[in-house]
Point group: C2
Chain length 341, copies 2
C-alpha cells in the first residue's frame, strides 16, 4: 500500500501533515510507502520537530516547487501550477506509484486535478465528496459535500449510485437507503432543483434495478436519527450542512466544558464522569473521520478539512488505506456495469 | 397586548398549544387577551387536561371550522380554506384585534396568508423568517430560514436591511454584522446566486448608508464563533442549515446522556455536575427560542416549529410579545425610509 500525502495542504501545513504522517506510519503497518509531497526544504526543516525520521525507508520525499494556496481558484490554478504538491501527488497516483492521494489543501484544486489526471469512472458525469456524519446506525454520508456546488439532477443520480456502491462495498450495508436533503419531508417540498432530482431518482428506481432504497426527501434530523446511508445534495448545500453540523458539535462541546468548569462541585462531577466526555468527543469530532473520499474518479482521493489537526490527517490517511483495501472504485464500476446489463 | 394563537398548528396540536397557552398566561402578565383560534369542540375537550381555565377573561376562543394540515401546499390552501385557524388568526391581526400571530402550523400557509392579509412593508419584495441560533455574543439570525426557498439576490438585500433593523431595534446591536452563508469565506466562493448576492450587497454598502457592516461570505463556524448578527441565505439553505444545527445539538445531547449513564460511576459524576447539563440544555435547545419572527409583513407573525413542545409554544408567544414591545416593524420601516432619503 502506497500513499501520497500533500504535505503543503491545509491551514497548518506542513506541521500537521508531518505529525499526522508520523502517527499514520506507526498505526497502519500496511503502508509500505508514504510519499511526502511538498517543499523538500520545509519538510527537512520541520520533520525533526514532529519526530519524523526521514531516513525511514517507508518515507520518500517528492519535492514540489509550487504550492496552491487555500484561496486560489482551484480549477484554473491546478492547470497552471504543474509543479504544485497537489499536481505531483496526483501524478504519482496516475503513474501507479501511489494507491491513494490524501490532501487537506485547496478542495477545488484537488477535485479538478483528480478529474484531469485520473479521469472519471465511465458512466459518471461528476465526482462528489462523500462526507460521513456519525449516527446511531453507523454513519450517513453527505454526497456531495463540496466538489460540485452547482450540481444538476443527473449528477445526484450518479451520487446515489456511487454512494450506495460505497455503502455496500465499504460499509457493508446490504440495501443502502438514499434520500434527498430538502426543506421538508413531503414529496412536494423543495426547490425546482430538488424536485427535478426527486422525479429523476423516482423514475430511475421504478425502471431500473436500483442498488438502493429511495426514501424521498429527508431533513436535518434524518442525518442522525434515521437509518439513512446516503444524503444527496448539491455540493453547496452539502458543504454548508457539513460545516454547520461540525460547528454545532464544536459549540456544544465548548459550552459543555464551560458549564462543567463553572463551579468546583461541577468540576468534581465532571472528573468522575470524564470517560463519558472522552467518548462523546471521539464520537462527535470531525477529526475521528478525518477525510472524505472523492467518489467518481479513477483512483483513491481523500479530501481532508483545511483546518485539519495531526489526528485528522492520520485518520484521513486511514480512510485512504481503507478505500484502497475495500476497492471502492471496483464496487462503483461493477454497480454501473450491472445497471447497463 | 393581544395575541392570536393558532391552536391547530403543529404535529402535536392542540395539546402543546393549549399547554403552552396556559404557561404563557402565567409567565407574561402583559398579555391582556390570548385568542385561541381553532376547533371550539377540540379546545373545550382538551383544555381541562392542560389545566387551562376557559372562563379566564384573558382567554377567548375563536372557532375555526377548518384546519390546514402540515402536508398541504400552503400557498394554495390558504386561499381556499378561509375558515382555517391560520386564516382567522391572521384576520384578527389584520382587523387590529390582535397585535401578534403565533403558529406552529404549515409554514407555507402562514407566510402566504400573512403576505395576502397583512401585505408587505413598502420597499420589501419578500418576507423572510429570522431564526436565532445562540452564540457567544448573543445570537446569530439565519435569514431566511424557510419562507422563500428560491430567493433572488434582491430579496437577500432586503433581508440584510430588515435583519439589521431587527438586530438594532430588538437586540440592541449598534452596527449589526451581516454575512452571506457560503461554502467558503473567500470572496469568490459560492454559487452564481451567492456571488450575485455578494456583488449586490457590496455595491449597496459602497453607495448607500448601509445600516450594517458587511462581512462578505461566512461559513458554519461563524454562526457560533463570530460576532455575526445576520447570516443571509435563501430559504432552502437557511431551513436546511437550521434543522441540521438543531439535529446535531439534539444528537450530541442524546450521546452525552448515553455516555453519562453507561456506568454507575459516570452516573454519580453526572448527578454531581447536573447543573451543567441543565445549563447546556437551556442554552442549546431550540425550545428556548421557540419561535422565529417573519420579517417584512405589516404585523407581527411568529413561526414556530411543527414539532414544538408546550415550552416552545410558550416561548414563541414570548417572542411575539417582545416583537410587539420592540416595534420591530417600525424599526424596519424607519430604516427603509432613511435609505430613501
Amino acid at each position: 500500500m502506497k500513499v501520497a500525502l500533500d504535505v503543503m495542504g491545509g491551514d497548518r501545513a506542513p506541521a500537521v501533515n508531518l505529525a499526522g504522517a508520523k502517527d499514520a506510519l506507526a498505526c497502519y503497518p500496511s503502508i509500505e510507502k508514504l510519499f511526502l509531497v511538498g517543499d523538500q526544504g520545509a519538510i527537512e526543516a520541520e520533520a525533526p520537530t514532529h519526530g519524523l525520521d526521514l531516513k525511514d525507508p517507508r518515507l520518500e520525499i517528492i519535492h514540489a516547487a509550487e504550492v496552491i494556496s487555500m484561496c486560489e481558484p482551484g480549477a484554473t490554478t491546478i492547470r497552471r501550477k504543474k509543479q504544485s504538491s497537489i499536481s505531483l501527488a496526483l501524478d504519482l497516483v496516475k503513474a501507479g506509484r501511489a494507491d491513494a492521494f490524501v490532501s487537506a489543501g485547496n478542495t477545488g484544486a484537488c477535485v479538478a486535478g483528480a478529474q484531469i489526471k485520473l479521469r472519471l469512472i465511465p458512466g459518471i458525469e461528476r465526482p462528489g465528496i462523500a462526507s460521513a456524519l456519525p449516527n446511531e446506525f453507523g454513519a450517513c454520508h453527505l454526497l456531495d459535500a463540496g466538489a460540485n456546488p452547482e450540481a444538476k439532477p443527473s449528477h445526484l443520480l450518479g451520487y446515489a449510485i456511487m454512494g450506495s456502491a460505497f455503502a455496500t462495498g465499504v460499509m457493508g450495508v446490504k440495501r443502502p437507503k438514499v434520500g434527498i436533503m430538502s426543506n421538508g419531508e413531503e414529496d412536494e417540498k423543495g426547490t425546482a432543483f430538488t424536485k427535478d432530482t426527486f422525479k429523476l431518482i423516482k423514475e430511475f428506481t421504478e425502471t431500473s434495478k436500483a442498488p438502493f432504497e429511495f426514501l424521498g426527501n429527508v431533513e436535518g434530523h434524518d442525518l442522525f436519527e434515521s437509518e439513512l446511508d446516503v444524503c444527496l445534495c448539491d455540493g453547496f448545500t452539502g458543504n454548508v450542512v457539513l460545516k454547520s453540523c461540525e460547528a454545532t458539535a464544536k459549540a456544544m462541546s465548548k459550552w459543555l466544558k464551560a458549564s462543567l468548569t463553572a463551579s468546583p462541585v461541577r468540576k468534581m462531577g465532571a472528573l468522575i464522569a470524564k470517560g463519558a466526555f472522552a467518548e462523546l468527543k471521539e464520537r462527535a469530532s470531525a477529526e475521528s473521520y478525518g477525510g472524505s473520499p472523492l467518489l467518481g474518479v479513477n483512483g483513491v482521493v481523500i479530501i481532508a478539512h483545511g483546518g485539519s489537526s495531526a489526528l485528522a490527517i492520520r485518520n484521513a490517511i486511514r480512510v485512504g488505506v481503507e478505500s484502497v483495501n475495500h476497492q471502492v472504485n471496483l464496487h462503483i464500476s461493477e454497480t454501473l456495469e450491472r445497471l447497463k446489463g
